[in-house]
Amino acid sequence: MKAVVTVMPKPAILDPAGVATARAMEHLGLKGVHSVRIGKSIEIEIDGADPSSLTEQLHEICHDLLSNPVVEDYKLEILS
């Protein structure tokens, strides 16, 4: 089974890396960049054919380990 977790800084939270990258993009000639936000993409490969039984556990892990709920939101996708 494969799952992909995307962890992004919460919208209200400053993302300094995003700000610096947005500026760099503009310097490279890309016009009209409104915002860039940089988060993590985490690919997990795990034994088990039955996603439903794992989903809850994975949500827990997303909340406790993979993201920092104080400053980040996560999205969990089960691919197969």
Binding site: P9, K10, A12, I13, L14, P16, V19, V70, V71
Partner: protein, 745 residues
């Protein structure tokens, strides 16, 4: 006064939510002569919070000695005190806490704490040169959820400090870390920064010059850290952890640009006043600069660079977005100022003007949303003299109740106690060498830093044994000052100034308020005894968890000066054959010792006695020997007593030591591990022993030759009829391995 209709009505609930008592609100009504606007309520709330107004502690802080011939800017006058160090050079330094933000989000909380203190220093016109950190966590041992949380907090805080300090390029050269369950749920994160400047560069946080434009420079204002000052002035509850907006994210890169731009700007003649936006952000910086300048300041919220769309004036005023400054520019010099900000790619805007009416006035376009006398806000806040509970000094520990532990086992146990064990795991994550001035790296008693541009040698240490302070706050605080001075003396330095961070519980509880008062008095006594001024500091109250208040932790940071490179001394033994001398008399006090804590699980008794006259005589004697070039190494006895000190002096060398404490009927555990104050272990060349002994005798300090440095990597100590011996390698492994192995578990 036009009020935005979207604003809530001012109700008693809203007032209470802003942390203002009914009496304080009455005061607001008197000052304004009318009901405040919503924005004004917010402004009073943060300005009159403990964090900004020191309303519970200011009467106590007045007891500190703050003057002296070298004091150029006194404590409390500006963002940091300034001390003369000769040849036209001066230092500005200060410590500040970021305890509650670090409890909620350790990485960002600690990082922004470092950012805040660095801004305080360059606001003074000083170039920051080094950092220190003083940290407290609950126990990190074991598999309990609490221990796991404490490890997560510890790792996060250290990474956060490293992130900010390393990125901005300031070495973190010293610090301290203790672990005790009183800090469960409420860790302490105190950060110190020192900067260097020429006398004529001292910048003021005053809005001078009616008609001068007011500039905003730095990061755009966002919704982060909304009303963090008020947050820091409350107890932590489960609810406050859900207080998401209280988390600020630091951007050390922006701060580096801001730092360079401000120093470049201050080197021109364009600046009339400058103030960082720390706690209470735009609000605090405008009314404080106006109050200091005896002027007024008027700004327009709509001109403030903003990160998010649709922020209300209330949000912009109270936001604690990091890396921002307010600059009062001399009229006519705007072009130069803009050029510098543009060079450094910093957002900036002219947001207002200095006025002559003493008002802090905030407009939102055409509407006036705040119109308050600046002085009333900044300087005429409420002051409270809280009730202090009566205190009975603790009885000395009855030794008969302490079973004798085997020193052979007790020493490694002590060395592996996380509070005593090597903190390399911590400082290896900090760049402690950048700026190429660190002559004594972390790991010795005090760090030594050579300030290249000024050709001056500084030393710094930070100390506080909170167990002593818990048992007897007054004695514990005096010891904290003495230990700092002792650590400086061991590195060859004379103290020049102190900054303190008073970390306590809720001051409304009389026992906590007693601790605060006794600590201030103890620190004051200590500073008077050593002849050093308190140049500033920080108060952090309401450090409580559901289990109660933290142990009182009045952290002391002391800065010293060394006159000559040749006087720089470290704690490690230098050569086999050198003779070991113990300066100071060993008593039999085990009260409050780490031996009692780590081996017997007890935190009780009376802390060791401290006699300032003896202590000072010892420091003078040591410094005089150092200046004569007679001292090869010096290391004081602190937690863990003489045995730990001897072991530490062997670590990192290829040497060992053979020590004989002579005929004595004292219990070996008491003799080896008690924490009698004022003791220093030095090593000297064998051929110098006679001179050294004569000098020490002349100084009227107690001393005794106790042994010799050997080239065998063993520590062996004879006392009475017993002889104990340990392999240095195995002790060192215990000492170095303790924290890493706990952190890997």
């Amino acid at each position: 006064m036009a009020n935005l209709s979207a604003n809530p009505a001012i109700t008693p609930e809203l007032i209470a939510k802003h942390g203002l008592s009914p009496e304080e609100y009455e005061k607001v009504l008197v000052i304004l002569g009318r009901e405040p606007s919503f924005e004004e309520l917010g402004v009073f709330s943060v300005m009159w919070s403990e964090h900004c107004s020191y309303k519970n502690s200011r009467p106590e802080l007045r007891k500190f000695p703050t003057t002296g011939p070298s004091v150029l800017v006194k404590a409390g006058e500006e963002n940091a005190g300034v001390i003369d160090i000769g040849d036209g050079w001066a230092v500005a330094f200060k410590i500040e806490s970021h305890n509650h933000p670090s409890a909620v989000e350790p990485f960002q909380g600690a990082a922004t704490g470092v950012g805040g203190i660095i801004r305080d220093i360059f606001t003074m016109g000083a170039r920051p040169v080094f950092l220190m950190d003083s940290l407290r966590f609950g126990s990190i041992k074991g598999d309990s959820e609490q221990a796991k949380t404490n490890r997560r907090l510890f790792a996060g805080v250290v990474a956060g400090i490293a992130h900010y300090g390393n990125c901005i390029g300031l070495p973190t050269i010293a610090g301290e870390v203790y672990f005790d369950d009183s800090y469960n749920g409420n860790p302490l994160v105190n950060a110190f920064c020192l900067g260097i400047l020429r006398h004529e560069q001292i910048a003021r946080g005053a809005a001078e010059g009616i008609g001068n434009p007011v500039f905003y420079v730095g990061a755009e204002t966002g919704r982060d850290g909304l009303a963090g000052a008020a947050f820091a002035s409350r107890e932590l509850t489960e609810e406050s952890k859900a207080d998401r907006p209280a988390v600020q994210v630091g951007d050390p890169f922006r701060e580096k640009l801001l730092l360079e731009a401000c120093l470049e700007l201050l080197a021109t003649d364009c600046v009339a006043g400058i103030q960082d936006m720390g706690a209470a952000g735009l609000t605090c910086s405008t009314c404080e600069t106006a109050s200091r300048g005896g002027t007024g300041v008027e700004i327009d919220i709509q001109l403030v660079p903003q990160r998010a769309k649709g922020q209300t004036p209330y949000e912009v005023l109270l936001s604690e977005s990091q890396e921002r400054m307010l600059v009062i520019v001399k009229k006519g010099q705007e072009a130069t100022v803009k050029e510098i900000f543009e060079k450094w790619d910093l957002p900036y805007a002219e947001i207002g003007v200095v006025t002559d009416d003493g008002q802090m006035r905030v407009r939102n376009g055409k509407d006036v949303v705040v119109d308050v006398p600046a002085r009333a806000l900044a300087d005429d806040g409420p002051l409270y003299s809280r009730e202090a509970a009566p205190f009975t000094p603790p009885a000395p520990l009855d030794l008969a109740t302490v079973t004798q532990a085997d020193p052979l086992k007790a020493l490694p146990q002590l060395l592996s106690h996380p509070s005593i064990a090597s903190k390399r795991w911590v400082w290896r994550q900090y760049d402690h060498m950048v700026r190429t001035g660190t002559a004594v790296l972390p790991g010795s008693d005090a760090a030594v830093f050579i300030v290249r541009e000024a050709n001056k040698i500084l030393a710094a240490a930070t100390d506080c044994n909170a167990i002593y302070c818990k048992l007897d706050p007054s004695v514990g605080s005096r010891i904290a000052v003495a230990e700092c001075a002792r650590n400086l003396a061991c590195s060859g330095a004379v103290p020049i100034g102190v900054t303190d961070n008073l970390n306590f519980g809720n001051p409304h509880k009389p026992e906590n308020f007693y601790q605060l008062r006794a600590a201030v008095e103890g620190i004051s006594e200590g500073c008077r005894a050593f002849g050093v001024p308190v140049t500033g500091g920080n108060v952090s109250l309401y450090n409580e968890s559901p289990a109660g208040a933290i142990d009182p932790t009045p952290t002391i940071s002391m800065v010293g000066r060394i006159d000559d490179i040749a006087h720089i001394t470290t704690q490690s033994f230098k050569q086999a054959g050198d003779q070991i001398i113990l300066i100071g008399e060993t008593g039999d006090e085990l009260g409050g010792s780490h031996y009692l804590l780590a081996i017997h699980g007890r935190k009780e008794g009376a802390p060791p006695v401290l006699v300032f006259e003896k202590e000072i005589a010892i420091h003078h004697a040591l410094l005089s020997l150092i200046r004569k070039g007679l001292v090869r190494s010096a290391h004081d006895c602190s937690e863990g007593g003489l045995a730990v000190t001897l072991a530490e002096s062997c670590f990192g060398t290829k040497f060992g030591a053979t020590v004989d404490l002579g005929d004595t009927d004292q219990r070996p555990d008491v003799l080896l591990f008690n924490e009698t104050q004022g003791r220093i272990v030095i090593s000297v060349k064998a051929s110098d022993v006679a001179v050294v002994e004569a000098e020490l005798a002349k100084s009227c300090v107690h001393f005794r030759k106790i042994g010799e440095v050997t080239d065998k990597a063993d520590l062996s100590i004879k006392t009475g009829g017993n002889c104990y011996s340990w392999s240095i390698d195995s002790l060192n492994e215990t000492f170095e391995g303790a924290i890493p192995s706990l952190m890997e578990s």
